[in-house]
Each structure stands twice: as C-alpha cells, then as structure tokens.
C-alpha cells in the first residue's frame, strides 16, 4: 500500500479542536442544549405537505442542473420583491445543496492556487477549509469584542494585500449574531471596490435581522458584478434537513459554478426543490411567527446573560448570542465541559469558531422558552458556585 493514502491538502487541514466535546454532548442524556445551530421549529406543515404531494405525483427525477425553472423563477421574484435585485433566472441563479455547497463551489470556481481569501474570525467553521480545499489560502481577520465583533473599514483595509482575491462575508453571522447596517456595508463596499476584491456573501440568516432591515450585499453600488450572493431555506423556513440553497451572481461566475455543480452534484434533490417552491410561494404566516418568536427570545436571552454576569453584546440577527465568560477565569472549553458535567447544559465553546473565540461561548436561542429559562437558571447556579 502506498504511504500517503490521504492527500496532502486534507492531511494539512486542521481537525476541529472540539470534536471531543461534541462527542461528550452527543453521548449524554437529559441535556438541555443551547448548542444547536438550527431552528427548533419543524418545517411548516404546508411546505412538508407539498413535498409529500410531489412525491406522490411522481416527482422523483433529476432536474436541470441549475434547478427547477419554477424554483428559480420564485427565487428571482423574491429577490426582486425584497431587495429590488434583478437576477436572470436563466443564467444568474443556481440552486445548490444548501449554502454549504454554494460556498464550496464558489471557492473552487474563483480561486487559483495560493490566492488569498479574507475571512472574519470568529466565523462559521467551514469557510477556511473550503478555501483550502479549493487551493486557496484563508487569511483570517481577527475581530474583537471591543468592536462588537464587527469588521470595520480600517481593519478591512489593513488586511488587504495584492495577493488577496476575495472576501468571505456572513451577516447576520454565526456565531456572534452580528450584522451590519446599510451605512456600515456601504463603507466596507467602497474599500472592496477600490481594492477590486470579489465578495462571497453568505446571507442565510438575512431574514432573521431584528434592529434594522437586512441589506443584501449586491444591492450596494458597484457590488453586483463582483458578488456571489448565497442564500438558502434552512434558517428562514426551518428547512435544514432538506439541504437546499441558491447562489446568485454575474453570468460568468454562475456559468463557472454550474460547470462544477453539474459534475459533482448534478442537481439538488427534486423533492427539496419542490418544498422550496412552496416555501417561497406559500403562506408567510408561520415564517413571520417564527421570526417574531426569535426576536422576543433574543431580548430575554441578552438581558438574562448580562444579569448573571456574562457580558454580552446585543446580536443584531440570527439566533445566537456570544457572551464573554472571562469573568469566570476558565477557558471556553473548560467552561463548556464543566457546565455540561455539572449542570447538564450544553453550549458551544467560542474557540470552535476560531482562536478569537477564546473567552466566549456561543448560546443558541433556537430552543423553546421553557428550555431557555431552565438552562439559564442552571447556568446562573453554575456561575454563582464557580465564578464568584
């Protein structure tokens, strides 16, 4: 047998440092988990029902590589209605297997070996590895609590060198819940345009924005021609398991991405695409109710965390809070492990999302109000025993 079975790229990829912690949580019973990165709602019934119906009707085949025309039409209409964006359903929209595939294919379509991509840290875990797998090099921009974990124009400018080709954005973001106002985005966009960067913008939490309206990146001046806009159905419509998302961008980029997509994935599953059609064309009522509920929980969660002495900036979107646990004098992993063992509450150590997450934990409030209350009572006991 050859010595090097596994490719160098994969060998060099850093394994997740908190896999052991995850295994610990998954092996334990009766845990209240605030560590879940998906909605606690089940996909609304009208969406599930329409997918069941489509299976009964015999929709079990491949679809066009780019996705069902019907779905791309709805996506184009939805983007037009919400943001005034014009994307041609024929050659500027690609339906993907979740946003995850979108990120992967975007990186592979855009990067040459050694080209750098800016990624804000802490960030969702897969951006860096996707860049590496595509032959690129991630350059992490360290965000700080002092700046509310926001990318500032100054910080952005400082990190742009000639070998940087693109920037990965994610707002509202996982794990911090941070998002940007239109003004803030405009300021970032000016620099991005000046330095001629490409933008891969993961806006899957866009509908879960609470303090201001979400601004889609391609709506900014001179942004459309350089932006790969990523969105999906997982978070807004509570459809994580369906694995369906979409990418919009300039013709040239979508054509390149479609090439890769057709060889690797062929197409997103048709039953999921049918469900996504219903999500976009059916009743908004259950969706609006979910969003409203997250909003209320956010207020409760942030107040409660600050009260118990875990300093927490107010997240502008998604369903995450990212409080500091520095007052406890424990590392993130220690805090999370001890909290799990002593009080049976699971949270994700901030370091899961990059070294900048040390001293923080991620709390997901995609959990019923009863669970949140109970979990916070237990956390408060833990902090009173451990950290005072």
């Amino acid at each position: 047998m050859k010595k090097n079975i596994v490719s160098n790229v994969v060998q060099n990829m850093k394994p997740s440092g908190i896999r052991a912690f995850f295994d610990l949580v998954l092996g334990m019973k009766d845990v209240i988990s605030l560590g879940v990165g998906e909605p606690d709602f089940v996909t609304p019934w009208h969406i599930r029902e329409s997918s069941i119906y489509s299976i009964e009707e015999g929709y079990t085949s491949y679809t066009s590589n780019k996705g069902l025309v019907k779905l791309r039409t709805y996506i184009a209409q939805d983007l037009k209605k919400r943001f005034g964006l014009d994307y041609d359903l024929n050659d500027e929209i690609l339906v993907t297997v979740g946003v995850s595939e979108g990120v992967d294919v975007a990186m592979r379509a855009l990067l040459n070996p050694g080209e750098k991509v800016l990624i804000c840290s802490p960030c969702y875990v897969s951006y860096g590895p996707m860049v590496e797998l595509a032959g690129g090099v991630p350059r992490y921009i360290s965000l700080t609590e002092k700046e509310g974990f926001k990318l500032t124009p100054k910080l952005l400018e400082k990190n742009i060198t000639p070998d940087v080709k693109a920037i990965m954005l994610n707002y509202p973001g996982n794990p911090t819940g941070v998002s940007y106002t239109k003004k803030e985005l405009k300021d970032l966009c000016k620099i991005i345009v000046k330095k001629d960067l490409l933008v891969i913008s993961d806006e899957v939490y866009g509908d879960l924005t609470y303090d201001f309206n979400h601004t889609a990146f391609p709506t900014l001046i001179n942004a459309r021609e350089r932006t790969v806009y990523l969105n999906g159905f997982s978070k807004t419509y509570a459809m994580t398991g369906w694995r369906v998302g979409y990418v919009c961008g300039p013709k040239e980029i979508i054509a390149a991405m479609t090439k890769i997509h057709q060889y690797t994935i062929m197409c997103a599953p048709i039953m999921s695409q049918m469900a996504a059609c219903e999500a976009l064309s059916g009743s908004r009522k259950p969706i609006d109710e979910m969003i409203h509920e997250y909003h209320r929980r956010r207020e409760f969660v942030v107040d409660r965390l600050n009260e118990m002495g875990l300093k927490c900036h107010k997240p502008q979107g998604a369903f995450y809070a990212f409080p500091s646990i520095k007052s406890c004098g424990l590392t993130s992993v220690d805090f999370a492990s001890k909290l799990l063992k002593e009080k049976r509450v699971a949270v994700v150590p901030g370091t899961a999302f990059g070294p900048e997450g040390e001293g923080f934990i991620r709390i997901s409030y995609a959990s019923s109000f009863d669970h949140l209350k109970e979990a916070f009572d237990r956390m408060e006991e833990f902090i009173n025993n451990r950290c005072r």
């Binding site: 334990m28 560590g35 207020e299 409760f300």
Partner: protein, 161 residues
Amino acid sequence: MDEILEILQKDARITPQEIAKMTKGKLSDVKKKIRRYEKEGLILGYKAIINKEVVEVKGSEVRALIEVKVAPQKDLGFDKVAERIYSFPEVVSCYLLSGGYDLLLVVEGKDLKTVARFVAEKLSPMEHVRGTVTHFLLKKYKEDGINLKSKDEDKRLAISY
C-alpha cells in the same frame, strides 16, 4: 393584539418580569397593563390545557356537539333562549350559527346517559326549542390550535455548528 396579550395567550406562566425583558418594557408598566386587562375583562382567566385524551378525569367524561333549532322571539331574537340554554353548567360552549340550524352547543357529562338525559329532559322540552341533533364525540385530534397527540421529541442533534 397587544404584545403582552400575545405572549400570555401562548404561555400564561411567563412572568411579568420575563415579559418586560422580551418586550423591552418597564416591569411596572407590564404589571399595570396586565392588571388593567384583567379588570376590563380582556383577560378572563389563566388555566392549564390538559390533554383529556391521556388523563383519566374522575369518572369518564363524554362530550357531545348538539345542534339546536330555535324559534326566535320577537324583539329578543335568539339571545334570551341562548342564555337559558348556556346557563346550564353542562353546556361548555354555545355558539349562534348561520345555516341549517341556529345554536351549536358543546355539552359535557360524566357519561352517555347524563348527556342524553340533559337533552331529553332539559333541552328538548324548552319553550322555543324546535329540535335537536346530538353528535357524540369519539376522539379529539386537535383543540384550540394544539395537537393532542403526545409531544414530538426533538429530532435535532444535541449540538451542531
């Protein structure tokens, strides 16, 4: 609807403190509003929703939906007759409807006989009542927006990125 009412309608156990947090309001204002709603009759009471499909309530319990045809009275319409009917404690709900009959009652009794007796002895002989049709309830699937099957477990992984 006011947000406080919306929250309490979903879960009446949520405390004024928690409501204040959720709505970014002052605790004293929340308390004041709730007191006002109670006084003005916007909030009529608080109770737990018990799944009687699962719990054995003392003795068994029978529910019937009863259609009632009523001859309306001059000047009073249906109101007076309805009042006479819904004042019986056996009547849990009473609605005036359009269509083939006039009143729809939800009647509860400890067994079939009790309900039958109520219809035969109290309801049918009542002045202005022209006729009744009784439907006994066999199974409840959903009530007031709540599915009455046992709760679904959380199918998500306990932790994910």
